[in-house]
Amino acid sequence: MTIKPPAIEARQLSKTFGATQVLAPLDLIVPRGSILALVGHNGAGKTTLIKLLLNILQPTTGVATVLGQSTATLTSTAFTRIGYISENQELPDWMTVQSFLDYLRPFYPTWNETGLLDELDLPPNRKLKHLSRGMRMKAVFASVLAFSPSVILMDEPFSGLDPVVRDELIQTLLGRIHPDDEGADESGATILISSHDLGEIESFATHVAFLHEGTLLFAEPMNTLITRFREVTVTLPQSESAEEYMTNLPDSWLSPESSGTVIRFIYTKADTEAPEIAVRGVFQRAEGIQSESMTLRTIFLALVKANRTEDRSRA
């Protein structure tokens, strides 16, 4: 049995525009069938990364492959299995929804649009330029899901959409990426999605990659991330003051705050060592230790704040 290459692989991929390095050299592997959430603040480099993977931009250093093929030489055939959904992509606005799909159909050998327009509730005979923002994005989804791509790259697909449309799109997407045959060896489509709707993608993403100011801080399975991040609140005895301890905390404890006898921080190693044990090691006389799990959104906020403080202190 041949081991298939990962769906997406990047090695020391970087991009510099003129004097600005927009993306620092990064390594990334996206396994087949996974759904990677690409998370980062605005301007962190998410769009640049996606465009590099599609050969819309050429890398300054490094290489990337998609479905085993180098991105520098992505052929037209490769695009019969790669889909791209972006909030900014232009469309032939003069075409109607149906004529757009009809136009694209001969390009793809695996086209199947049965029920797609009905499921998305799209008017087939309305021109693309007359569609609302949400419907327009639905039309783009339809035009990509119809050919069952093996890899889908999505750049802020839900940006500016109301929750109903977002939900409909997620439903349609999840309902179409798994191969029909239940017992098939084939893994489903691989998805790389950059989005700010962290609450929604948390439920279906399998992996997370975090970009900050052009640097990839980490990329790991969602379960690991959720497991290892915990918000810890330590209550010290009345006699002690939390202030004194603030400067001696381990570096891996992020964004520590204190008030009176209470210290709160983000603990990032809960997968290897239980937070209670780590806390006991530092605060032998702690009276109360509470550890709360965090959602993807709260993890993201904590990381951005922690990194911003670090950037500022370094500058």
Partner: protein, 482 residues
């Protein structure tokens, strides 16, 4: 191929309004232009203006059509819908070419045929003329338009780039190279130049379509234009003088005919009435030397007369490039740079002169009776309007022809003094005129009546020759004509 046709069909479906207007334009052109021909039945200035307007609108509509079709799948930018779809660049380029050929060129050619039919000429008599005309349009108009469209993302950007480049180009040519008109270009150099630049432009077009590296492609176009300028400068500034001269000398062998020679007859020149009024470019002086060309058959004519000379005075030497020379009755005139003239006009100089030309041998003359509409040799078609014959040809006049007629000074019918008059029409190469009908108005003095005979003498190229003349001592200052 199927992908190309699929894209082409989509383009036609989207651009049918523009195509309809273009078709209308062509129809209007085919109807209006014949009314503005010399010798047309009803003509007025309004019609002439309309015809001129249409002549301008046709290239503009080409720019619009080509730009619009190429911008359907725009090559510039990062957000076009098609760059992440399975488009093969070859099919895309093919689709645009199919569109340009079938929706732009083909209707244009049909319109040209319609004009030829209206002039009573069969369009297929001059296939070479038609091909040459289309080739010129391709190289000068359609290919550059397509390239500009491939390097821009909006119609206004395409228009402005094209206008900008055209204006700068024309300005450079006018001010940097004022004397190019009189220079002789070596044989085939025009063909090689055109071929080379066509290949380079096509190469850039293919590069842009296959890689969409717009910045690099734009640099490539700038480099090609710069290269063109450099080569032109080298040619004009005689930096490539030696190979150019050698090429020309090679093509024109030294005359083997002993009787053919140049003779210098010193003395003042008789005044000569000039037919043409050639403008002397700034910085140049025209010199007319009393040099006779002897030994030439009086029936023969000359074509492509050029000369190259060396002026030698103590302390100063000037070797000219090959430039055009005019042969008159017992004289030979050519241009000399102002500074050279000032240096050498003061005293006697030693002049060594080379002269070359192509001989034209007259074929047997044909006598044709003029009529309201009659055929002329070389597939021409002539009409007689108000006493003046106008002859029309398809795409080009490839053979110089001399026409002799007996013209009446008064009205027709009266057997008055019929004196012979002559006119000559020269070569007209296939050019970039949307109107393919080349008009030649035969100004034979006064009225030609229906039925009076016209003698057409065609000239065919005979041998080329080169002659040398050495004038040990002459004061050029005496022979300045303008």
């Amino acid at each position: 191929m199927t992908q190309s046709l699929h894209i082409f069909r989509k383009d036609v479906r989207h651009l049918w309004p523009e195509l309809s207007v273009y078709a209308l334009l062509l129809v209007a052109f085919a109807l209006v232009v014949p009314q503005a021909w010399p010798g047309a039945a009803f003509s007025n200035t309004l019609l002439q203006t309309f015809a001129t307007l249409l002549k301008i609108l046709i290239p503009i509509s080409w720019l619009v059509l080509i730009t619009r079709v190429v911008h359907e799948e725009c090559l510039v930018g990062e957000e076009q819908f098609w760059i992440t779809r399975p488009y093969h660049w070859g099919s895309l380029l093919g689709a645009k070419c199919i569109f340009i050929v079938t929706s732009l060129i083909l209707p244009f050619v049909v319109m040209q045929w319609s004009l030829l039919f209206q002039a009573d000429i069969n369009p297929f008599v001059s296939i070479s003329g038609m091909m040459l005309c289309l080739l010129k349009f391709c190289l000068i108009v359609w290919l550059p338009f397509t390239l500009v469209a491939a390097l821009t993302s909006t119609l206004s950007a395409a228009f402005m780039s094209l206008a900008g480049v055209a204006v700068i180009w024309a300005a450079l040519l006018t001010f940097l190279f004022p004397a190019t008109g009189t220079r002789m270009s070596p044989p085939f150099v025009l063909e090689i130049f055109s071929f080379t630049f066509a290949i380079l432009l096509i190469g850039t077009l293919i590069y842009q379509f296959s890689t969409r590296r717009t910045a690099r492609s734009r640099i490539a176009v700038a480099a090609i234009l710069f290269l063109f300028l450099i080569l032109l400068y080298g040619f004009v500034g005689t930096h490539c003088g030696t190979p150019v001269r050698a090429l020309i000398r090679n093509h024109y062998p030294a005359s083997s005919d002993q009787s053919l020679r140049l003779v210098f007859v010193p003395g003042p020149l008789p005044y000569e009435d000039r037919n043409e009024d050639i403008q002397v470019p700034r910085g140049f002086v025209e010199v007319k030397l009393p040099i006779h060309l002897e030994g030439l058959d009086p029936n023969y004519k000359l074509r492509d007369t050029n000369t190259s000379f060396v002026i030698h005075t103590p302390g100063f030497l000037y070797a000219s490039p090959w430039e055009s020379a005019a042969v008159g009755e017992g004289n030979l005139s050519f241009l000399v740079p102002q500074q050279v003239f000032n240096r050498t006009a003061t005293a006697d100089a030693h002049v060594h002169l080379e002269f070359l030309a192509e001989q034209l041998r007259p074929k047997d003359p044909q006598i044709i009776s003029s009529n309201d509409s009659f055929s002329a040799p070389n597939n021409g078609r002539c009409v007689l309007t108000q006493g003046t014959p106008v002859c029309r040809y398809a795409y080009q006049i490839s053979v110089p022809t001399r026409v002799k007629a007996l013209s009446n000074s008064g009205a027709c019918g009266a057997p008055e003094s019929a004196k012979p008059t002559v006119t000559i029409f020269r070569l007209v190469p296939a050019g970039t005129n949307p109107d393919p009908v080349v008009q030649e108005v035969l100004s034979l003095g006064s009225t030609i009546c229906a039925g009076s005979p016209l003698t057409f003498s065609e000239y065919s190229p005979a041998e080329t020759f080169r002659l040398e003349l050495d004038i040990p001592s002459v004061n050029i200052g005496q022979y300045k004509s303008r």
